[in-house]
Subunit: 309 residues, 2 copies
């Protein structure tokens, strides 16, 4: 790789990791340096009971569920995973700059796969009471909601007028497809946001979690040629080998992963370093960051270079 | 495909095309219905002199250049295309939720490809005078800029205080990679936004155009395993067969394409129908749309169903 290419790239990546010469102590720290220096206490472990492994032929996608926002959907998803509902089903839709969707392409038909002991009917879980929910608010304005920030590690929004909070449709968020009726989802058909954040869906559909590792396995799935990204031939679908709760996978086979706590000083500092870029490359710091532009750092605590999962 | 799946999908796609029963005359029109009903005068043709064809093994990506914002970069890109600079080069970087980048992976090295008669040095073209530029402003707030909207068909921003306007880093926008110096790009190394709009790059790098067709060929390119999405092996790169100006391609081989004018009533109405979704599926119209959530309709005027390019 050429020197200038590397520099162009380094520059383009918004100087996430500018190479600071030894002794550059007056230079502001980059977001990556802040994250690398975060104490162990700033990191949290995933709860295996709230973690799903979506296994594809070419790798594992790790999903964190959001029971604090969608308790009934998450309970049903746990049942579906435990009973192997998705095993052998597929990702049957990939729409550019929007979503991939997976589950049973024959749902609602005579040949639909049995959903076992999962509930067929659940209430909509579009929002919840803000009261009692720790909310790490961003100071940045948002066009879609009065307040935005992070709750339980997820991008979220809040309205002091209604006293409600809800999850936000950022990249990697996972929701439960539904019919016209608000209460027509049960968590068997799930979509993952793989494009520009479709925030207009907020409070219109139940979000159940977020991809915390492996999103790049989903985002490159070829787009379906039919309207809304469906495939015209079943063989174009991406087979799902299995979806399992991490708690039902032997400990040795689990994916080691830690997430930076959104109420940690390191997280606050990293976001600020992205809001106002102070490295040489940036000529015009934005003075702003959008909720869905905030990255949620993850790391493999067992890796030698554990900050580059 | 199952009935319910189709419905789930139809619902999820935000009811872009709800199937209205005959006689549903009181129902508000969907964005797609508004676009389908737009008069011929609401559509514009691409100027072949401002159109690039990026030819990959599996298809053609159509790019509209933005000479009103980056005249010198666009002139240089025209020279590079005319002289076949990119032919046989590659897409050498794909970073998830960010960009793909193409050009010469050896740029700046001894074995770099000659750039022929293209200029090696250009001024930065980050912004321009707002005066004299028609600007179709959105009424929606934006965290990154005082005013946002569309100019010459591109997503753009404007600041009445400085009297400047600039292009915005939305999905599909194309920019010129640069080194630390503001004036270190010449248009030979280009990136395309394939993730959540990195608006922090606005006014920090020269944007030169936008992908108007075929972005789904770029967005699925496997992510590179190295930092910033570079590949570790040259054979992982995606070869570029050629990049040509449409004006240098025989008329019969050009891609027929029209774009909806952003100053047309149909465009204004379509955006409003997305800002406040009034179909049955939506329970909570957002009352807002972000600049980078606005889709810029394109159609093949020669197709039977010409509104589904």
């Amino acid at each position: 790789m050429g020197f200038r290419t590397a520099l162009l790239a380094a520059a383009l990546v918004a100087a996430a990791s500018p190479s600071l010469a030894q002794g550059d102590k007056d230079k502001p720290k980059s977001a990556q340096e802040i994250i690398d220096a975060a104490p162990a206490s700033a990191w949290r472990e995933l709860d295996p009971a709230n973690t799903l492994y979506l296994q594809l032929a070419n790798g594992r996608v790790v999903i964190e569920l959001a029971p604090d926002f969608a308790p009934q959907h998450v309970a049903n998803i746990r049942t579906l995973a435990r009973e192997g509902f998705w095993d052998g089903l597929s990702i049957y839709r990939s729409q550019d700059n929007f979503v991939v969707q997976f589950g049973d392409p024959d749902v609602g038909e005579k040949n639909a796969k049995s959903q076992g002991s999962a509930k067929t009917k659940l209430p909509a879980e579009f929002e919840r009471k803000a009261e009692g929910l720790a909310f790490d608010e961003l100071p940045d304005s948002d066009g879609w909601a009065a307040e935005v920030g992070f709750a339980k590690g997820f991008p979220a929004a809040r309205d002091p007028k209604t006293g409600k909070a809800w999850l936000a449709h950022c990249y990697g968020m996972i929701g439960a497809g539904r019919d016209v009726a608000a209460d027509s989802s049960n968590g068997s058909e799930l979509y993952v946001v793989t494009g520009q954040s479709p925030r207009q869906l907020d409070r219109n559909i139940t979000l159940v979690g977020r991809v915390v590792k492996g999103i790049e396995l989903l985002s490159v799935i070829p787009r379906g040629p039919e309207p809304m990204g469906f495939y015209d031939k079943p063989e174009q679908r991406t087979p799902i080998q299995s979806i399992r709760l991490a708690s039902e996978v032997p400990a040795a086979e689990r994916t080691p992963l830690q997430l930076l706590k959104t109420d940690s000083q390191a997280f606050v500092d990293a976001v600020e370093s992205r809001r106002n870029r102070r490295d040489e490359w940036y000529k015009h710091p934005a003075g702003h960051i959008d909720l869905c532009n905030v990255s949620l750092p993850a790391r493999d605590p067992t890796a030698k270079d554990r900050n580059t999962p």
